[in-house]
Structures are given as structure tokens and as C-alpha cells.
Point group: none
């Protein structure tokens, strides 16, 4: 993980502005420093300031208007299909009994795939947990999760029968960004056994990455047997396809 003092200048500028947005010092709609003002305050060249503001714009945080200035964009809250919810709370909210079995908990060395997932430069150790969540004794979710030790150093010391990994990470770190990829799969042998399902039962595979302060905190694959789970959402939109609610 590159420490901030060693990061490129344009990254420092980006981080500074993002922190101001997150802290509330810069509200949606308010003006951010112009390129020339950043040149002054950071003692950088205009091209470097331009790069920082441009990248924040393509990432959706800012909006730029030629001849006028740069402004913090309105956050467009997305809705529920993929809200970050704790499955234990979901099950309890349905009035059912929640239990879980931790199948594995330990450290691994990042494989090339994991290095890419976590946006790492080189291989490091990652925390790894495999846990099966049960509703009234019936397995409903197979969770295979990797966690960045840099972001959550005390992860391994938690008791995950008392608190799900999702719940622990949510209380420990703010989530800035989410990525979801949903696929349909047939379960492999291990998943069949853990979920107590037949090899022919299709499953939803939900791969989720979470960012906090620019770092990938965790990457999880959640397997749901199709007969026991579906993803649902309903929400209002504006004319431009943005989601409100």
C-alpha cells in the first residue's frame, strides 16, 4: 500500500479533495479550488492540478464548467438491489433464526487474481474467511471473503459466530464505493456440501468489492442457492436515469 507521503502529487491532490468532500467541508454543489489556486497552495504545475481535477470528474465526484469553475457533484444514491446489508439482520428481520458456521479463518498470500482484485502492486498477505450462513438451520449463503490487513488489521481476532464479517467491517470502516458482479453458476463440490444442495441446482454468485478511502477493503464471493434466495429492488428514478430515494 503506497503511503500518502510517497504518492504522486496528483494523487495527493485527489486525496485531499476527496477528504474534504467526505468530511463535509465541501458540500455538493460547492466550488472546489480552481487549477490555479491548487497550483498556488500545493506548489505544483497546472497540468498536475488539471489531472487531479479531471480524474475526479471522470470518477463522478466533480463536474467542471469551462469558464466558470469546478464543483462537487450531487451524490446519486443507488438503491437497494445491492445494498450492503448484514444477512444476519435480514434473517432476524424475517422472524427467523440465524446461525452460522465458520469453515475457515486464516491468512493467505495474494494470488495474481487477488492482486488485481485488491489493486495491489505486489503480492502481500490477505485475510481469508469462509463462512456459511443459515436461516432456521438451512444454509442460505456461502461466503468466501478476503480482507485487506492494511485496512482491518484486527480482523482475525474477531468472533465471527457473534458478528458477521460484513457487520464487523461496516462498524470499523466507512464504505465509499461498491462494485457488484452477479453471475449464475452451478455449485462446485465444496459449495454443494456446505450449502447442502444438489449439483444441478443453479446458484446466484454475487461478487462484491468494497472501497474505503481509495483502498479495496474486502472482496467477497457470496453464493446463494436459487431456490432459497433472489435479489430484489424497487426504486424511483429521474428522467436522466438517476436513482433517487
Amino acid at each position: 500500500m503506497t503511503p500518502l507521503y510517497a504518492a504522486p502529487l496528483y494523487v495527493k491532490v485527489k486525496t485531499h479533495i476527496l477528504e474534504q468532500i467526505r468530511s463535509g467541508a465541501l458540500q455538493a454543489g460547492s466550488r472546489v479550488p480552481s487549477e490555479n489556486e491548487l497550483v498556488e497552495s500545493f506548489k505544483i504545475s497546472r497540468m498536475t492540478a488539471n489531472r487531479a481535477l479531471n480524474e475526479l470528474t471522470t470518477e463522478g465526484h466533480l463536474a467542471r464548467v469551462p469558464g466558470v469553475g469546478t464543483f462537487v457533484k450531487e451524490a446519486t444514491p443507488r438503491s437497494s438491489l445491492l445494498e450492503l446489508r448484514n444477512i444476519a439482520d435480514e434473517i432476524i428481520a424475517r422472524g427467523h433464526k440465524y446461525t452460522s458456521r465458520v469453515e475457515h479463518l486464516g491468512e493467505v498470500v495474494a494470488t495474481p487474481n487477488l492482486i488485481e482484485d485488491f489493486e495491489l502492486k505486489s503480492s502481500t498477505k490477505l485475510f481469508h474467511i469462509v463462512i456459511v450462513h443459515e436461516e432456521n438451520g438451512m444454509p442460505v449463503q456461502f461466503e468466501d471473503r478476503y480482507v485487506n490487513p492494511f485496512c482491518a488489521p484486527n480482523f482475525l481476532k474477531q468472533d465471527f459466530t457473534a458478528q458477521t464479517p460484513t457487520a464487523y467491517l461496516l462498524t470499523t470502516l466507512p464504505v465509499d464505493e461498491l462494485e457488484h458482479n452477479v453471475e449464475a453458476i452451478l455449485p462446485d463440490a465444496n459449495q454443494q456440501r456446505r450449502l447442502k444442495i444438489a449439483a444441478t441446482e443453479p446458484c446466484l454468485s454475487l461478487h462484491r468489492r468494497s472501497w474505503s478511502k481509495g483502498h479495496v477493503v474486502t472482496s467477497a464471493t457470496l453464493i446463494y442457492p436459487a431456490s432459497r434466495y433472489a435479489l430484489y429492488s424497487r426504486y424511483h428514478t429521474t428522467s436522466k436515469g438517476q436513482v433517487t430515494q
Copy 2:
């Protein structure tokens, strides 16, 4: 739309490379010209070439390796999960060829299930279309859609080989509300035949209802073969408790 001859230089370079990818002159994994080679051939400065290649990289088309070169990335076949996007646009954006086959187009009398879906009081006629969308000749989506004639009376007169139902409805009506339900399924006999897949291949089933001005405009079931497609989304979250457990 800015004509290409009036576009900025870095846009010309980007367009040129994208065209080469689309035409097949640049295959996935093959090397694209280095910055210095672009400097030569386009008579531009290295910073301009750098910008073009960097932007194509953040857009997901290229991958860069310091000391080695820049390469065409594998296009990941996937659809937007939360946004209402036209699959034809998504396929074309990946640089692939989009085609479609209209399997059925006509009227039906609403069944009890459809009456409920469309929030109708009594049975009326509904428009019905079945269409298979193909990427490079390979079926990737089976679309089974019902449309409310009250909202889109001219639906049947459209040419759906030229424009997808989604595209037509989006340009005709504002979307106020969306409902999604995602499941994993095994395809039925008809879907197997239309999608040219085996009975054992799991599929994503995305059921979507769209509202406009309080009425259900359309109800669609979209089937994606798992091996060919995934659903994807990535977005920022606000710190104001949008992401709750």
C-alpha cells in the same frame, strides 16, 4: 456531435485505436502502438499520446505495463444491473457486433399473472415480443417482454431489428420507477433452443418492471446464459447512512 476532423488530437487517437479494436485489426491481448510510436505516426507530443492511452485504460479497453507496453484488454460481457441500459449499446461499446432476431411479435390477452404484474383491474390485451440479442452472432440475451398498449400504442408498428424495445420505450416514455428481481435458473426447452445452450447451463433471470406516470409500462424477463454474460454495477455511496445494515 463534434465531427472527428474538429475533435481534439487525443480524441482522434482514441477513436483510431477503438476503431482498430472494433475492426479486429487489434485483437484482445495484442500490443497497441507505444506512446513514442504514436508520437511519430500522428505527429503529436508524447503527453497527448499518453492521455489517449491512459483514458482508454481507465475506460477498460487497454491495460498498460510499465517497461513492457500497452495491450488490448479482454472485453468483459456484462450488463448494467441498476441502470436501464440498452443491450445493443453495451455490446457496441465493447467493440462487438450486435444483431437480434425477433422470434415473436403480437397481442395477447392478459393472464392472471400478467394482470397482477401490470396492476390491471381486469383482463385486457397486451403487446408481447420475444427477441434474442446476439453478440458477434452468439445469443447472449433472451428477452420476453409484455407492453401496456395504453402507454405505448404504437409499439407493434416499430422495427425491432433496427431498435431494441428498450431503446424505443426509453425514447417514448419517461421512466419513473423500476423494479428488479434477479434469480438463477436453468433454462426451459424454448430458452435452450433460442439461446443455443445446454439444459445444464445456469442462467441469470432478470425480471424488470418499469413505471411511467403511475402505470406499469412494461414487464420483461431477460435471460442471460451464465457463461456469456454477467450483471455489473459500481457506484459511490454516501456517508449519510444510505448504506445501512
